[in-house]
Symmetry: C2
Subunit: 319 residues, 2 copies
Amino acid sequence: MIKNKASIGVDIGGTSVKIGLVGAEGKVLARDSFPTHEGGRHQSREDFLRLVSAAVDRLKKIASQKKRVIVGVGIGAPGPVDVERGFVYFFPNIPGWKNTPLKSILEKRLKLPARVDNDASALAWGEFVFGAGRGVKNIVVLTLGTGVGGGIILDGKLFHGHAFSAAEIGHLVIHENGPECACGNRGCLETFVGNGYFVKEAEKRLKSGQTSVLSRAGGKLTPHAIAKAAHAGDPFSIRLWEDTAEHLATALAGLANILNPERIILGGGLAQNGIILFGPLRRALAKKAFPIAARSVKVVPAALKLDAGVVGAAALLRG
Amino acid sequence: MIKNKASIGVDIGGTSVKIGLVGAEGKVLARDSFPTHEGGRHQSREDFLRLVSAAVDRLKKIASQKKRVIVGVGIGAPGPVDVERGFVYFFPNIPGWKNTPLKSILEKRLKLPARVDNDASALAWGEFVFGAGRGVKNIVVLTLGTGVGGGIILDGKLFHGHAFSAAEIGHLVIHENGPECACGNRGCLETFVGNGYFVKEAEKRLKSGQTSVLSRAGGKLTPHAIAKAAHAGDPFSIRLWEDTAEHLATALAGLANILNPERIILGGGLAQNGIILFGPLRRALAKKAFPIAARSVKVVPAALKLDAGVVGAAALLRG
């Protein structure tokens, strides 16, 4: 029965809008996309709606060739959303979206049921439905990228809070006198494990005279390069990952003590480096969290990789 | 209809066990109690059950005189509980309770439905049903005492987490290099705003040569004395409360960013000092939390005072 169903996921990103036809089994059956910017400016809201409609029409045809019934369209939106009404408050990095009733606009235009949520929640939901959180009811998902995003699933449902602004996990403070954060506060998790901060910390240590294969290697200092060096045994890089794991463990211990989840899922670039992050992270968490909370939680990498945004958005049609 | 109903609340504390007949309107209609210790030792589990049964029998008679129907007995337990089975894992400060199926034992003995939860959750539930959280569905409750306890209500239900160990709010880290905590971690909220730490900080500052009416007053340094001095305009004491508010605001900002509650309720001794805590606390929270989260939350003192434990336990029979 379920095998002939599919939904469409739309992931609105900073550089491109990705649209995918996603089977009820979680596989991306067809893809489309268009740039968020074009000719030096952002697509207008009207352009966006036109381009999404055209993409959906193409995917509808492909679905019909594949004998799939499309049950609806899910949107992962880069900003705060009233999830119940599918109403976009604004997008911090894309102008022209203030107070948009996106769900009802799309439903009229596409003649399909639509669901709108913010992108971090959609990613978390994708892991719950198709990824590393399958079969688990209480999950915290963190995405470690330029910023640190998050989604929380409690009792098998996405948790949004009173005004739909819950799960800003990057802005859990772990050091009240820590570095200034873009949000105006100090010492947010993001200021320790965001990509930029991670690289800046590496640069700072290298400038202070610490030695590493990285200083001899030349080339650009990236999380990936530092991970490669750590895997190759570079003590400087291993130490940097351990310290990053320690900061992250402080936040995860807080989350474990407050929410007592069964699983914590880490996605994003920084989390794709396997044991050099997860090893010290799990050890530090076991020390920092309450014993019951620490014993009952597994910390695992996200299962959905490049397609996570589109698959998560498509998964919004489930549940 | 509801007016002729009542339930019995049992609050197992470190020094005494309090039992109350609580009307469906939240009023304590009759009280009983016995000491947790007697003759230099803790009551055995069997003694406890006998004494509770006797107290419940007395309260049943009073209820019948007052034409009240008792709908059940609620227990606030000082330790981790499997809430679904009403099963006590252990009490950290009272020996002899390991793995006790308290709910089923009490139901057989008292011939009344029983509910068991940990005391911090029961307090939070009491505020939701009868106190400062009435009519509000997403609430975080903190109790500022020797330790810092907490309870979380999400979507109108007590939230317990995967292994019933959620809401350990005193152990949210706010300073990863902060003071050592009894839990083994560093910089937990409790190490900044627990009663003992608060008084210790005052002593440290006085010893370092800071001047205050408190140093001339003699007598014991207590949160209450420091609050009195602050209300009387003592700059030293005002500053100490402001700094404590700042620490607390860091934790509340984290909770607001993660859970986006509609209300945060503060109970316990430290929270009973009105504007000298709540003034700077609200200002600091507005600066530290995300704007949407900060705007949507009210921070208020607990409404239930001395009877909070018994009323909260009795409220467990509701919902």
